[in-house]
């Protein structure tokens, strides 16, 4: 039974993106959750607009018109199927991919995807109100986590699994940088000791949104500072959502493609991974913060886009002869070139 079965390039791409879109849904839920936590009385709109900014969705959001308020941002991400970065479109894209992958993925994965998708089609404006919002975020997180668990337990571990993991990790790394970035946009209007305490509270909330609060407390020094938190989220090698851990796992996975499945074309992607890791571990976090955390995070996000591009070029492009002229790197959304 040791037959190595080839994987269609189209399937590899579908797996990569299905995982990405679902990871995005989970992280959007985390971002929305933390935004609500940060919501400063009287300055709600500003807090929610920060969410739009860190997702670089300003143009898209303002194009829609409507008031710039908390309600509208929540709808933009949770209800508006026309927003390509929102939950409905991401779930739709995930299910679209799952459908094309139906010959490959397990029946249990497909069945859960159908049920999750249908459940989320029933989100109403009422679910975005008050304490309902947090519950909705939990439903979304749990939906993705259920998918992840079913996949872990039922999906055949051939190279398809590697592409699935790569998609998940690249999105997770990207989303963690956004989670860190959101703090940057919400400066605390205070000074001195009061400001320091308020900042620590905010960083605590960021850690909780990343499900890393307790892990951080276990490894952090007693008198920890905001730098310690940033360092934990970006460079820890044990925390599942840390950018560095994601990158190390991707490096291992790319190596698997080469050693275990005999795929060529991993060189360029591995070089990107090297650069990413160098950037993250090459200098101290204090220095990064001093030079501008936001710019640094922007750079990491760009590098991740390049990495996704290299993976696409090496393994997915061949089935898209029509897309030959497209620019390299598909960025943050899958290009949906339809053959039919």
């Amino acid at each position: 039974m040791a037959r190595q079965t080839p994987l269609l390039a189209r399937y590899a791409e579908g797996l990569f993106w299905m995982a990405r879109y679902l990871e995005r849904v989970e992280n959007l839920a985390r971002l929305v959750d933390i935004t609500q936590t940060f919501e400063a009385p009287g300055r709600e709109a500003e807090s929610w607009l920060a969410l739009v900014r860190i997702n670089a969705d300003e143009a898209n959001f303002f194009k829609r018109g409507g008031p710039v308020d908390a309600e509208n941002v929540r709808r933009f991400y949770l209800l508006d199927p026309g927003n390509p970065t929102g939950v409905p479109a991401s779930l739709e894209a995930a299910r679209y991919n799952a459908r094309t992958l139906r010959p490959l993925i397990s029946t249990e994965m497909w069945m859960h995807m159908n049920m999750f998708h249908r459940d989320m089609l029933s989100i109403t404006p009422e679910d975005l109100q008050g304490d309902n919002l947090s519950r909705l975020c939990r439903r979304l997180k749990e939906g993705v986590q259920t998918h992840t668990g079913i996949t872990e337990g039922t999906f055949f571990r051939d190279q398809g699994w590697v592409f699935y993991q790569l998609g998940r990790l690249i999105e997770r790394a990207d989303q963690t940088t956004r989670l860190v970035d959101i703090r940057y946009h919400l400066l605390v209007p205070a000074a001195g000791e009061e400001r320091r305490l308020a900042e620590l509270t905010q960083w605590g909330a960021v850690l909780r949104a990343a499900a890393g609060y307790h892990a951080f407390r276990r490894v952090a020094p007693p008198g920890f500072t905001p730098e310690d938190v940033v360092s934990f989220l970006l460079t820890d090698t044990s925390f599942p959502r840390s950018v560095t851990l994601c990158i190390e796992q991707m490096e291992w996975l790319l190596g698997q493609l080469r050693s275990r499945y005999g795929l060529r074309g991993t060189v360029a992607a591995l070089e990107r991974v090297e650069e990413l890791r160098g950037g993250l571990t090459g200098r101290s976090v204090a220095k990064v913060i001093e030079e501008g955390l936001h710019q640094f995070l922007d750079g990491v996000q760009r590098d991740l886009i390049m990495l996704a591009g290299e993976i696409g070029t090496a393994f997915f492009r061949d089935w898209r002869p029509l897309a030959e002229g497209q620019t390299q790197g598909q960025g943050q959304t899958q290009s949906q070139t339809q053959a039919a």
Binding site: L7, L8, R10, A12, Y96, W110, Q159, F163, A340
Partner: protein
């Protein structure tokens, strides 16, 4: 009474027919009933099923059937209906009361289907080679060579084992006396087999108590048999052939079935864009580069297979595929050009075609068909228009049909005029009283009309999946079993008496 005793002797429990027996008001009338009409070798199954349904009760039946249908939705066992505004995923409605075919009935059907497939393949081989059947006057040449589905590309082209129709679905109905009659041959890309298997799985999950202890022929073997056939027909000299299933993609209404078949065979489901042809060889695009493909089970019509040969605007196919195939580097299943054999006009000649090639009478009769291009057929048709269904031979999809018993005087006369003007364009058939099966409806258990589509797989030899797809017209009095028009399906049980 005898039947009831037999049931107990088989250990299937006593029948508990109470005053609320859901079958109390069931009356199949003059129709043959696929469950309740007496059959000598039904092994007491019909009575057992009725008894068990009585024990479950109507309310529970409805609840369990609806739970079963929800499961179909969750599993995505759906076909997509497109309207202007949206795409809706619909399930093929499932009726939980099985259709029962006895072992002897099945032996008859199986032999008849195999015979039919053999004749279809012999006919196709002949018309694409010497054309003896035309020269010997068995069938008019224009019906063959003038047929829109006749493919010049096929002339003198060798196919392995002489098999053109690898997958065949034959639509069969049953008349008031229970006689099986062939309604139509489907020799191109027949669909529906996935429902046969899924219905059985669903049945065993949702109604295990209905099936318990009844020995049925299994239906799980389809994928393995299909893969074996696809492997057998691969180009000669290929040791470990790569089989793929070619689908138009997720927007095709039968996509679920394509998925099902590729999973059951364990082969990739590819779309046109996944394949390419270079130097007359077919390759699929994988993460590790190009990999050769040897057999393509295609679920795309002939005219979409290769834009360089057929429709240039088709994006579903693969440029150069026909060239690769003509060079013998890849096998297509079904072969190109099989549509000429399942044509309505050719259907009328099938009993003669079977006799011509196999020197046997047809085991399964056609529905009595009068060929109006022949003087006797025309005379009979004109004399009996009020009782006949008159069909044009060239059309499909039910266009131009006149149903005598339901037609107005004016419609009859216009059919008469059309017949006289161009007799060769018409055939006529009596109205068949299709058999019924007890079916769960809002009003309780009622008779509904059924047909049956057995599936035959042919590589070197022909194998027939026990049973087939039973489609049921859910609307009262309706004879239309198509899924697009209110049709559903039932699990089809072939009783196993241990004799093969």
């Amino acid at each position: 009474m005898l039947t009831a005793v037999f049931v107990r002797a088989n250990g299937r429990g006593p029948m508990q027919l109470s005053s609320t027996d859901p079958f109390r008001d069931y009356d199949a009338g003059a129709y043959f009933c696929e469950l309740t009409s007496q059959r000598a070798d039904d092994q007491g199954t019909a009575a057992a099923v009725q008894g068990r349904i009585g024990a479950i009760g109507l309310d529970a039946l409805h609840a369990r059937q609806s739970a079963a249908e929800t499961e179909l939705i969750n599993l995505g066992i759906t076909f997509t209906v497109y309207s202007e505004a949206s795409a809706i995923d619909r399930i093929l409605p499932f009726d939980c009361i099985p259709r029962v075919i006895t072992a002897a009935e099945w032996r008859h059907l199986e032999a008849g289907v195999k015979q039919r497939v053999a004749a279809l393949n012999a006919f196709l081989h002949d018309i694409y080679h010497a054309g003896r059947v035309v020269k010997d006057g068995i069938i008019p040449g224009d019906l063959v060579y003038g047929n829109a589905n006749f493919r010049e590309e096929m002339r003198d082209f060798p196919v392995r084992f002489g098999t053109y129709v690898h997958i065949c679905g034959i639509d069969i109905v049953r008349d008031h006396a229970g006689k099986f009659l062939v309604l139509e041959d489907n020799a191109r890309t027949p669909s529906g087999v996935s429902y046969v298997v899924e219905n059985r799985h669903l049945m065993s999950r949702a109604f295990p108590d209905l099936m318990a202890g009844i020995k049925l022929r299994p239906v799980d073997d389809y994928g393995r048999r299909l893969l074996s056939a696809m492997t057998e027909i691969a180009p000669e000299g290929v040791d470990d052939p790569q089989v793929v299933l070619l689908s138009p993609g997720i927007y095709n209404s039968a996509y679920f079935e394509h998925v099902f078949l590729s999973r059951e065979m364990g082969v990739p489901l590819v779309e046109g864009a996944d394949l390419l042809v270079e130097n007359d060889r077919v390759w699929m695009r994988t993460t590790g580069g190009r990999r050769p493909v040897h057999t393509i089970y295609r679920r795309i019509s002939d005219e979409f297979l290769d834009p360089t040969v057929f429709k240039p605007e088709s994006m579903l196919g693969v440029p150069g595929l026909i060239g690769a195939w003509r060079r013998g580097n890849v096998t297509l299943a079904n072969a190109v050009g099989t549509g000429v054999a399942d044509d309505k006009a050719v259907y009328a000649y099938m009993p003669r075609i079977i006799r011509y090639y196999l020197n046997e009478d047809a085991i399964l009769s056609n529905v009595e068909t009068h060929i109006c291009r022949e003087p006797e057929g025309l005379a009979y048709t004109l004399a009996n228009l009020e009782n006949l269904v008159v069909k044009p031979v060239g059309e499909s999809g039910g266009y131009g049909i006149t149903i005598g018993p339901r037609a107005t005087k004016a419609q009859i006369e216009s059919a008469r005029a059309a017949l006289i003007a161009d007799p060769a364009n018409w055939i006529s058939q009596p109205v068949v009283s299709l058999s019924v099966g007890p079916t769960l409806t809002e009003k309780g258990i009622r008779p509904r009309h059924l047909d049956l589509r057995p599936f035959a797989v042919t590589g070197r030899d022909t194998w027939v999946l026990p049973g087939g797809l039973s489609r049921v017209a859910l609307k009262e009095g309706s004879l239309v079993v198509n899924s697009s028009q209110g049709g559903g399906s039932k699990d089809t049980w072939v009783l196993d008496d241990g004799v093969r």
